[in-house]
């Protein structure tokens, strides 16, 4: 049976009469938690931005037809030499089609899979951009612009014009910004493209594409799937690539394996394609947490120190309380509550300061060529960080308060009374 109102009353009086020490201890926690929140929101915001830069526009699984030499050379069909050791020199790949066979049925099949958010066909080809006397080599990709915008955030990289305009205008092109600069083209102008096997097609520029990667922006343009098929003189089942977006990125590896086996195509999952990327993210997170935890531990030592001092100053009080009938546990609870009150108040203030600082940071302009959609510093205001920060404040003050309060519990009142 613990009489909380008495214990909290005493704790409160102790804290209020030593308001200076109390505030310093609480400020230690505030500082620790505040910087933790600021740091972690800012760092994970930056991480997420960098991740998105790659991940958003990267398909979770990319399916295509790799050009490679056949594993079954004609000799293996010849029974007479089946028992012997055959060496075939200078194997060259057969000039196989880039086209994915039965691409349209495969797409509908994939879209039925419950892990798949969407599977989009693409037609990739090499072309020349021609304007007057200039000829520039480049890539033209045929896409379904609106679906592409929905699944792969295409719109983030369209600096002028829109995905809808590309979808609804016949013979239109979304030109890489680098090409536009080189050839001094504006939206509304026409650019002529020529596929490798000849012919010249004028296309109307409906917008510019800027990925942030300059080398890419200098060659890459987009158009409707139908337009590319027409330029290449292919039927409307001519598809070279399928890009798959999943609900859960973790499913990418098994699904990619399954597609490879089932359809005899190459399927690259995002993890394999961007392995080094994840390492960077992990290390940045590690640094963030290491710094935050250090700050909180320092704050914890502050509390430990101040409570220790408080208990030395309060030896007499402890002896009186024990002599008049308070148990060791009561005395321990009095000092534990002081620690917890410091932790709670300091923690809540820290959360508020963290929130304030992050809000401030999120208004600071941050403009860079590489990231056309980012205008201010990115902040990731995840409520989980606030929960973790608060829990850490409570746990660290609990630990910091535990040892000193344990000492207070054990103080022998007779020794103190004799000592006077």
């Amino acid at each position: 049976m613990t009489n909380w109102s008495v214990i909290l009353g005493i704790a409160k009086t102790h804290l209020l009469t030593k308001i200076k020490q109390t505030s310093i201890a609480a400020l230690g926690v505030t500082f620790g938690i505040g910087s933790y929140i600021t740091l972690v929101c800012f760092m994970t915001g930056l991480n997420a931005m960098l991740d998105n830069l790659i991940l958003n526009q990267t398909p979770h699984i990319h399916v295509y037809n790799e050009i490679e030499p056949s594993k079954n050379q004609p000799i293996s069909l010849y029974n007479d030499v089946a028992e012997s050791f055959n060496v075939v020199h200078s194997i060259k790949p057969k000039r196989s089609q880039k086209k994915i066979h039965n691409a349209l049925p495969i797409i509908s099949y994939l879209e039925e899979n419950k892990d798949v958010r969407g599977a989009l066909p693409q037609v990739k080809t090499q072309i020349f951009y021609i304007a007057g006397s200039i000829e520039l080599g480049g890539n033209l990709t045929g896409i379904n612009p609106v679906s592409e915008a929905r699944l792969f955030n295409m719109s983030d990289y369209i600096v002028e014009g829109s995905a809808e305009a590309l979808e609804h205008t016949d013979n239109s092109i979304l030109l890489g910004i680098g090409i536009a600069k080189k050839m001094s083209l504006k939206v509304g102008d026409r650019v002529q493209v020529s596929p490798i096997n000849g012919g010249i097609f004028p296309l109307k520029i409906v917008g510019f594409y800027q990925s942030g990667i300059a080398d890419l922006d200098a060659i890459q343009s987009f158009t409707n799937i139908k337009t590319v098929q027409r330029i290449l003189g292919e039927a409307n089942n001519y598809i070279t690539d399928i890009n798959i977006k999943l609900y859960d990125i973790e499913r990418a590896v098994p699904l990619a394996k399954k597609i490879e086996q089932q359809f005899k195509l190459t399927a690259i999952d995002i993890k394999t394609a961007n392995a080094q990327f994840e390492t960077g993210t992990t290390i940045r997170n590690l640094i963030t947490y290491a710094v935050s935890i250090t700050l909180l531990i320092v704050a914890g030592f502050g509390i430990y120190n101040i409570l220790n001092m408080l208990i030395y100053e309060k030896m007499n009080d402890i002896a009186i309380l024990k002599a008049t009938g308070f148990s060791g546990k009561d005395v321990q609870l009095i000092f534990m509550s002081q620690a917890m009150i410091i932790g709670f108040v300091g923690g809540v203030l820290g959360l508020l300061i963290g929130l304030g600082l992050t809000s401030l940071i999120s208004t600071i302009p941050f403009q860079t060529e590489a990231l056309p959609t980012v205008e201010t510093y990115p902040i990731n205001l995840n409520p989980m960080f606030f929960v973790i920060g608060f829990l850490f404040a409570i746990i660290s003050t609990f630990l910091a308060g535990y040892l000193p309060s344990k000492k207070a519990k054990k103080i022998d009142p007779v020794k103190i009374i004799r000592g006077q």
């Binding site: 008495v6 009186i320 309380l321 002599a323 009938g325 060791g328």
Partner: protein, 223 residues
């Protein structure tokens, strides 16, 4: 007659710095309503005995009974409860919580006991202060009153839970003769009117002579 406090063959040793037999086979009883005083030379073990009787010191041989119940070897939490409910202790040096008001100091043991409501406790505390003529100090901080006043506040605090016995270690040691007289009269009145038992260590012959019984100690023994 009811026996409030009974000590049975109490022996105590201090082991450090050298083995020292400080209390030697102490046995005595205090009856209900009895006002007893303990006298003896400095260093004969009076305070040591009082700490044992008040259950704060548990390191001794022998048995201690309070209201006919064995106190020896009870667990610490229960001993705290006994101190809270049955024993009022007045120290030679006025031990008050200096950051609390006089009233809060007096109320604290009752709040801990939690047998009464806050209003009742406050009323009781005022009554005790009135009885000791210091009710005007109620709202003052304990650090802002005089030594004699502190002593009376400590007595009020010892009385707040209407204990079975009051123990005092030279409670008048720091008071002038007028205040000492005053404290004696309060004790006497409580013992007569309310049947309170008192066991007071004192060096003051006048004080001791007016009590019901004097327990003389010498060299750790009762003589």
């Amino acid at each position: 007659m009811n026996i409030v406090l009974e000590a049975n063959h109490i022996n105590k040793y201090f082991k450090k710095p050298v083995l020292f037999h400080v209390l030697k086979d102490i046995s005595f009883q205090i009856k209900k309503g009895e006002f007893a005083s303990i006298m003896g030379k400095s260093g004969c073990g009076k305070s040591t005995l009082l700490y044992i009787l008040s259950t704060m010191d548990t390191d001794y041989d022998g048995e201690l009974y309070l209201n006919n119940q064995l106190v020896t070897n009870q667990d610490r939490d229960h001993l705290s409860y006994i101190r809270n409910k049955h024993i009022g202790f007045v120290f030679q040096f006025h031990y008050l919580l200096s950051e609390f008001s006089v009233l809060e100091n007096v109320m604290l043991p009752a709040k801990k006991l939690a047998e009464k409501s806050y209003q009742e406790i406050e009323y009781d505390a005022f009554e005790k202060l009135k009885m000791l003529n210091i009710e005007h100090l109620a709202k003052k901080r304990a650090s802002q009153v005089s030594g004699g006043e502190k002593q009376r506040i400590a007595i009020a605090r010892a009385l707040i839970n209407n204990p079975s016995i009051i123990m005092g270690d030279e409670p008048t040691g720091n008071l002038d003769s007028h205040n000492a007289e005053n404290v004696f009269n309060i004790f006497k009145k409580l013992s007569i009117e309310q049947g309170l038992s008192l066991l007071i260590v004192t060096h003051d012959d006048d004080f001791a002579n007016k009590t019901d019984r004097i327990i003389q100690m010498a060299d750790g023994k009762i003589i």
